[in-house]
Amino acid sequence: MLDLILTQTLNGLASASSLFLVASGLSIIFGVTRIVNFAHGSLYMLGAYLGWTLVAWLGPASPLGFWGGVVLAALLVAGIGALIEIAILRRIYPAPELFQLLATFGVVLMIQDIALAVWGPEDKLGPRAPGFRSFVILFDSRFPSYELLLIAIGPAVLALLWFLFRKTRWGTLVRAATQDREMVGALGVNQRLLFTSVFAFGAGLAGLGGALQLPREAATLHMDLSMIAEVFVVVVVGGLGSVAGAYLAAVLIGVLHAFGILIFPKITLVLVFLVMAVVLVVKPYGLLGRRPAGQPRATAVEPLLRPADRATKRAGLLALLLLAALPLAAPDSLLLILTELLIFTLFAASLHFMMGPGGLASFGHAAYFGLGAYGAALAVKWLGAPMEPALLFAPFLAGIAGVVFGWFCVRLSGVYLAMLTLAFAQIAWATAFQWVELTGGDNGILGVWPSAWAVSKTAFYYLALAICAACVLLLRVMIFSPLGYGLRAARDNALRAEAIGIDTMRVQWAAFAIAALAAGVAGGLFAFFKGSVFPTYLAIPRSVDALLMVLLGGVQTVSGPIVGAFAYAGLSEQLAKLTLYWRFALGLAIVLLVMLFPRGLVGGFLAWRERLGPGAGAR
């Protein structure tokens, strides 16, 4: 038994190394540029694929061919990182926080299709490393010598980074920028060069991590997203910007995996997120993280929010009338698309409510959408409820989750809050996935069809229109109510808000719960619209969808989520129909939109109108 414990510890340490390489890169990039680089997993994947190609080209049998290929792959990925920074990210640094996330997500989509086109769909198993092909006997069992090498590489890179950051001018600048960005600007450093080099460096680390995986893991087209989720966890658990923290967390997660499969073989994935949730609740800035110095960027000057003027109200009413009259003329297929868009609009608006006026960005909003859907489906399946009460049960379940999860989440802020929402969403997802007796597991719950009167496409369309329009309008009313103002007050300046008697945490908690409730309504409708529910409803991609819709529309506008939902969902829907390379097209479209409209579509429109005539505020 002791032997097994020791071997599993070594196994955990071996997996920790690659995790650490990728995570440290992400952490360094975040520390300096404040960019949450969603494409970091893609850079890792490129490192693996490029390594595979280069090693094969240079000759996998010779040590020089293998290690040369690995290093070359890392350098190439660093170059790709620099290219991404120069071509895209550099142009959008002044945009609101998290907006860069949108751009990097566009890059993720593009790289997925590029990798598919270049390397084809088959998994690529790399060669074994020369000199490390075999095993050594450790604790009575065989242990691959390459894993031992990996175990050594982690601390070696950590030491190297330490040296770089303590002993070189560049490293000192990076550290200074991590602690206080304004200071570096004041020092007269070439900030552009610093940012580009930091991004390239972080990308290179990810590439190295990917290439080093070759002898133990096949390069696949899925490794980007599975890595990014894990790396986010590592970085946040370790503390953003802390390289030592990243190593500590990588080891923790690696060892947790290795032992998790011995003790809880079925819930290894959620175990990681459970640990993250616990760490964030106990140590809100991660194991070795520190509260960021200076004012966070979220409290930058936000534009005014003004209630709709006459023209906007008229346009809104017209749009509503148009939507209401549409079934008279439109074919069923258009109604189906519109029904889905309406539901997504409510979903996006619910996220916007907490994210825009509340400043509470959530990476896990799908949890409440999905719980709403499951609420409805469970009511149908287990209680035999018809549609109407089931639709009420949907926001009930989502709301309860919002109240419970929200209580923990509002104690944090910024990226940490976002990551805690992600952790809770993953826990909810795992519950839906694993509790097979209740939820049917990944096969979902089928047969969640509407009541007889709402079965026709037109009837369901009207039902969705009525509920979604009412809820979106209600959210809008709330934004301009004292509660909404209080929420904005807490976001703009918590110090002032507390000093005029506002319980900021409770206001944010309420907003969290309301957002969850509204997402639950959307989820309930979605369940009856699709006729079935699946764990994918609560999965990360759905959360990302919501985030994209809100960001694309414009966070600091009231109509943004509506426009964003139609733009994003409509765009991806149409592109998916047109080409099998829709991910590349969608990614490109997102990147271009981000660069053209750095305040979102509605924000861009308002800025344009502002230039034409004064007196307009954000709607």
Partner: protein
């Protein structure tokens, strides 16, 4: 990199052609029979690219022979990106906007189940090609859904037949942690225990799909000191599992019985790492010399300059079975089609097969054999064709398993 770029551009322009294609095809083929084919093309390209090629080969052959009912067949391909809700959206759009006559496709089980439920609700024929879930035709089976591939149950039963002959008593199990993996393990244990009451199961590992921690998993299995291992992992999980298992000696002196591993999609990726002597289900594409298969393989090779994968066979057979059903029904009316599908005999690359009337499961079989390493590549040897019809429960049992009747 220039070659790669050129290839990429070619692929991208291929996308652009696809972009223009639907309206073009529609203009040409007025009166064509339209099939809405939904699959996880971008999420599972390794299986589905060959699948689509096999499908298009069959369609071209059918159309070259004058089509069915005097009409050409055309297919609208849609990508569900691995999400059941997207598959349902495409299904709705295909029926309402594209006016397709019937639906087909599905790779993941949950996608298949979602389309099946949609099909029942909308009274449309759904020819499920690949989803392996037993629920698709049994517990959640419905009048409008038919499935081509041998199900999880059938493939498990084929392997149990072999496993029961082994001396091994202590078994360890490893399966991806989702429905397919869980039900494969469930059937394997149940059927093996029935055939060999003396066996015991000493370890079970359920790595998350696509996220196996191979080293730790191998170590955990090794620690249980089993006589034999039943593996359900596939794709990258399998590759990583095998490499770690080889290095750590997990498979030495042990029997391994493994689902799907003999399929070229997974065997090819293993390359020199291919373990010898595993008992697997699969597809011996190079050695199968039946006339139907040779005809299929030659046509495929000629058209794509590549050998067929199992996906190619599934795409090819699904398309052909639909054509056969249309011909038998003499109409595209879906109720008549359902009636025609029940008990339909259709030609497949593996010989003729039948959609059973009792549960809408096709009798298409699989090949059971052993893995071997030949010229640095994994191959299937000592194989035999296991006819699907022989690996299904008795009709009485099926009736209890399928409430829909």
């Amino acid at each position: 990199m220039t070659i790669d770029r050129r290839r990429f551009l070619a692929a991208a322009s291929g996308g652009a052609v696809a972009l223009a294609a639907p309206s073009l095809v529609r203009a040409q083929g007025a009166g064509a029979i339209r099939i809405g084919e939904i699959n996880s093309y971008t999420a599972q390209p390794a299986f589905l690219k060959p699948y689509r090629q096999g499908w298009e080969l069959a369609q071209a052959q059918v159309n070259a022979a004058g089509g069915v009912l005097g009409r050409k067949i055309e297919t609208i391909f849609r990508d569900d990106a691995g999400k059941p809700e997207d598959a349902v959206r495409h299904a709705g759009d295909l029926i309402n906007a594209e006016k397709v006559d019937l639906l087909s496709g599905g790779y993941l089980s949950n996608v298949g189940l979602a389309i099946a439920d949609f099909a029942a609700q909308n009274k449309r024929l759904y020819a499920a090609s690949e989803p392996l879930s037993d629920a698709l035709v049994w517990s959640k089976g419905n009048r409008y859904t038919f499935r081509l591939r041998p199900s999880t149950y059938m493939q498990a039963a084929m392997l149990v037949e072999e496993a029961a002959r082994l001396k091994a008593r202590k078994w360890a199990l490893v399966a991806p942690n989702y429905e397919y993996g869980q039900s494969a393990v469930k059937w394997f244990k149940e059927l093996l225990k029935k055939a060999r009451p003396d066996v015991e199961f000493v370890a079970e590992q359920y790595p998350a799909l696509g996220r196996i921690d191979a080293g730790a998993t191998v170590q955990a299995l090794e620690a249980a000191k089993p006589d034999a291992i039943f593996n359900v992992t596939f794709s990258a999980d399998l590759t990583n599992f095998v490499r770690q298992g080889n290095t750590r000696g997990l498979f030495e002196g042990r029997d391994v019985v493994s689902m799907l591993t003999g399929e070229p999609e997974y065997l090819d990726a293993l390359g020199t790492e291919t373990p010898e002597g595993w008992i697997v289900t699969g597809y011996p594409h190079a050695d199968l010399a039946t006339p139907e298969h040779v005809r299929f393989r030659d046509a495929y090779q000629a058209r794509y300059n590549d050998y067929p994968r199992l996906g190619s066979v599934v795409g090819f057979d699904t398309m052909n079975s639909i054509a056969a059903a249309l011909a038998k029904a003499g109409t595209t009316d879906n109720e008549a089609l359902v009636a025609a599908m029940e008990g339909l005999t259709f030609p497949s690359a593996f010989g003729s097969a039948e959609y059973r009337a009792i549960d809408h499961q096709a009798t298409l079989g699989a090949f059971v054999g052993r893995t071997a390493l030949k010229d640095g590549k994994g191959v299937l040897v000592d194989w035999r064709y296991a006819d699907g019809a022989k690996y299904l429960p008795s009709d009485d049992v099926v009736k209890t398993l399928r409430p829909a009747g």
